[in-house]
Subunit: 446 residues, 3 copies
């Protein structure tokens, strides 16, 4: 695969425990306007809303908070999409109370009206000769629907990259399922969970045999049997491939390979014929993020039963507090801890459901975990490499104005994979074709 | 009318958008002890409690927070009224737990007892010869009942002005209705809503034809038809008259004239034969205020049906969370947003009820709105003039010790009015008698 | 009694109102790591958990917050007790989600396992030759069960004192009852309530004749009749005896003597044949504490009816929000204020139950009361002397490294007492034997 090259892999370095100072931790975790990581995030398209949230023309506007900015999203009478400052330019009233009608969103206080570009197009109380509205414009961002997701680009319009081409956006609707849930911690510790393939043998071990979207694959036995995965991390043009190998029979390794694309896209390696799972981790503010979760198949439609399992909160999805995207099991109710299930091994941590197993632990680290107190291990190599790559990209952007990796949609066309390989073969050499998106073909999966 | 003079009215100035710096915004919005605006507020009598809150001698004491001070109000055995520091001088226990009995409020911790002046009159554990209680006095303020309201004066006793003479206090009980509700934002943005006559044509437009206390007046049609009111603001001795004119037939203007009295009394211009509405906006702390709402009639009793409508939360009143003065529709439940009613036009913003339409938008600006980001228009002239007058009064008080306007009860005797006038006549010349309180006569109302 | 000596007793000094500056108040109230009072607290054993909270081997781990440290307590397979940092050394996940099994607590994220000393004993993902776990150890503290309580020592292991010998720990289980409740204020103002014998004549007066664990004692009538107790405070080796005398017939005084042991143990003087009550006041953080409440008898078992009363929340105990140690009557519901009961005298402050009468008033002072605004009286002598003793101990510890009083378990062997004495006799001379723990004998009680 072009651009795929081996990453520096000196295990001594990792054992040196590269703890993050408070300054470095702040740098990686803060994404508000004007922050270095905020600038980096604003180079990319990010998922902002599920298609269901703006179902049709003139539907109710929706409050969106992303990267510590408070925005309002709406779909106008002509189906154009708008994403702009939540507050009216006049006196600062929330446009969530606005009337979405006749080609724009009208503030309900004095009737000022804005189109999807944020341009004020009517100030009813103003004498026409003043024509004030021409001079009034709310900060607005691009919002585009693709693949069941409304994507936002919050950066410099002059540098807007082409639309994303993650495979989840390009498959047929019949092949995919999307959800999102509120996660009450910083985006980075959530994302780091997504590239941490080693915790599956513990935290999710009880689910490998019971979850309808995980159970029954041949590879599961290696996950359970070998709790000492060895990590091999290689660069790809948009991020990293994080390979974790476990011992298998016949002088083979069972490889699970997780792609990470800058800054916050991850994909779980597949299991048997199950759909493939993945995530986007999108900052709301510095202490909360949206965990976007998806499933898709490479070469067939999702079955009715798979779709029902997803809607029921199995796999990487969850049940909600009705009428919200807040998980039903959450911090306020101790995630519905079930000590019986913990004792019996049905749920390793006592928390039911793979999604909330991850979220509960990640939130227990605190809203922003203190990375000066960690004790990283060789199995955290993916995490260390991703941080390093983020640092480098942030520094290059700040100091040289160099655009970060992952903007070219070609770099999005990656896949996760699980494969059995002879022990003497490097996965990055052998598995290249499996790690490339390949419309209409199934994933490489054991 | 004596003292009524035209205010500077250079529209160019207003277009210059006199944004408030953070310092000026702080000055106008902070009313705690020792702040300049706090000093100004402490020159006046303010409504502190509804008569129903202290129904009789030795009734339960009531916690009162005003101007960022925590106070306790009580009515003693002899019906004397007390308003003093909430906390016992001994160890700081809240006197809300106190026993109101035998001529004073007794702390329930060690039995220290205070009379309505804050004077400690008993320290039971103290040997009589020590006579400690003589030296112990809680800070206390004047509290006086007038017109169904307990009025508080929290300033220098030597400068206590005569009791207020707002017409609402001087009419018979049969002619008035009073309510109050918690509003979760600074007093100033709430008050500014009260002198903003231009939003009626939008926010409340759905109610002009349906609210039993608004509908059916001849003037309503001008409110709906002409959404470009022109403002003429004139000084009055206690504040301002804010006149908003709309086009009417026969070379006439439909004038709606709103009096504002320093610092936080406003009155809505009347409609047909309906009772007249008005408000006091009283700071609790810098992020919350009490919105006092009243209705009264100039020359007749309120009807049973009017009174029932008010109790049901129509007009400027609202429904409550039972047992509280917290609106039932509030921030925690998105004000019971009804998108169907918004779509149909029944409720312009989707929020039901005039009171909560105002409160929801004012609260959506944030607890203290940032006036450095506004974009004021000629229709905001009343707001600009009121701020200017507040600035001037605060500055004069701080720098020269000059008492502010509006202390003389004669200045309270104003009325709102709605009138049709020939286009070539200035309302301040023609409508003078209508803007003066006139016991026993109906309001000038179209 | 050895070491018992009269404390300086110059009443003029107390009248001088020794107000605490903010600095001194901070010094006494802050107990987090590295604070002077935190250092003092860390010299002692403190109650951390009720025995019921860790009922058996491999039971669920329990979160413990004490002295502003977040800890996890567990009982391992061999019944050994652990109390250590709540968060895994690896990535900071809470060990509350951990699996308590096979001789240790295993983090559910990656399976790291700790024994009761905090020593990491397994890092499953780690190659055995690395043997990383030897170098990994969580900060851990001694946790020991004695007398139905798990006691924690959070100080320097080299200076760990012998286990406590408070009489409550040494009586048979049949003779004692223990409870704890969350109190939403700083430990010091809660503890000061515990040594304030004078408020009983007021706050709890309604309960002296009705509470099944208080009513009917001969001494109650003196509590009611003489509301001017005179305080005599004497040193004891571990703290103070705070004697409060009230007038009785026949030239006698009714003495109620409250022991306070450094830093936060207090015992209520007994009434008739009722069990004796006492408290520990243990900081959670600077704005909350655990109020530990106990009852025990010197020479007999508790009766079934006494135990039921305690379980029902009578005496110094309370009813809970189900499944928690949070009082059912609490700040969020105004402690279920009952103004009728206040009026009738059934509940002096309107709050039901002795425990919540105290807690409600102490919490009403604010999370940390401002002692620069107090007005102390001779009846507050116990409080003044205790503060003085705490200051002295903190200063000696900080400046000279001198260990504070109350570490020697012999000093724990105190009792409260209520006695009738001739007026010309000093209680510290006459009552010495009554103030000493005396297994198998009843308390001196009137």
């Amino acid at each position: 695969m072009a651009g795929l090259q081996s990453a520096p892999n000196d295990s001594k370095k990792f054992e040196a425990n590269p703890l993050l100072t408070k300054e470095k931790n702040d740098l990686l975790t803060q994404t508000g306007p004007g922050t270095p990581m905020g600038d980096l995030f604003r180079c990319y398209w990010h998922p902002a809303l599920l298609a269901e949230e703006l179902p049709g023309p003139d539907c109710p506007p929706v409050r969106v908070q992303m990267l510590s900015e408070r925005l309002i999203a709406f779909r106008d009478s002509e189906n154009r999409l708008g994403l702009m400052n939540e507050f009216c330019a006049h006196r600062g009233v929330s446009l969530w109370f606005g009337r979405n009608e006749e080609g724009g969103l009208r503030c309900s206080y004095h009737g000022w009206k804005y189109d999807v570009t944020g341009q004020c197009i009517d100030v009813p109380s103003d004498p026409p000769e003043r024509n004030s509205c021409k001079k009034i414009k709310l900060k607005a961002y691009s919002l585009v629907e693709k693949g069941g997701i409304f994507w936002a680009y919050m950066g410099d319009p002059a540098k807007q990259p082409p639309l994303p081409e993650y495979e989840i956006c390009t498959v047929k609707p019949e092949q995919r399922f999307l959800s999102k849930r509120l996660q009450e911690c910083n985006w980075l510790q959530a994302m780091e969970g997504g590239i941490d393939s080693s915790h599956v043998s513990f935290l999710h071990s009880g689910n490998l045999n019971t979850d309808p979207l995980f159970k029954g694959s041949a590879g599961n036995k290696y996950n359970i049997a070998d709790k000492r995965p060895v990590f091999e991390v290689v660069d790809n043009p948009g991020g990293l491939f994080i390979g974790a190998r476990r011992n298998a029979e016949d002088q083979q390794y069972y490889w699970r390979i997780t792609p990470w694309l800058m800054p916050s896209f991850t994909m779980v390696p597949p299991r048997g014929d199950h759909p493939v799972h993945g995530h986007f981790w999108i900052p709301i503010d510095d202490e909360r993020c949206w965990t976007w979760s998806f499933d898709y198949t490479g070469a067939r439609d999702l079955t009715k039963s798979e779709r029902e399992s997803m809607e029921d909160g199995h796999g990487v999805h969850c049940k909600y507090v009705p009428g919200t995207y807040i998980p039903l099991a959450n911090k306020t109710n101790d995630y519905l801890m079930d000590r019986e299930a913990q004792k019996s091994g049905l749920a390793y941590s006592g928390i039911h459901g793979i999604a909330m197993q991850d979220a509960s632990l990640q939130e227990s680290m605190g809203p922003i975990c203190d990375r000066s107190k960690e004790m990283l291990m060789p199995t955290d190599k993916g995490i260390m490499m991703a941080r390093r790559k983020l640092f480098k990209a942030v520094t290059n952007l700040q100091e040289k104005g160099e655009m970060p990796p992952g903007l070219d949609p070609e770099t999005h066309k990656v896949r996760s994979a699980s494969v059995l390989l002879p022990r003497d073969q490097a996965y990055e050499d052998v598995a290249q074709e499996h790690l490339r998106a390949s419309p209409g073909t199934p994933h490489a999966s054991v």
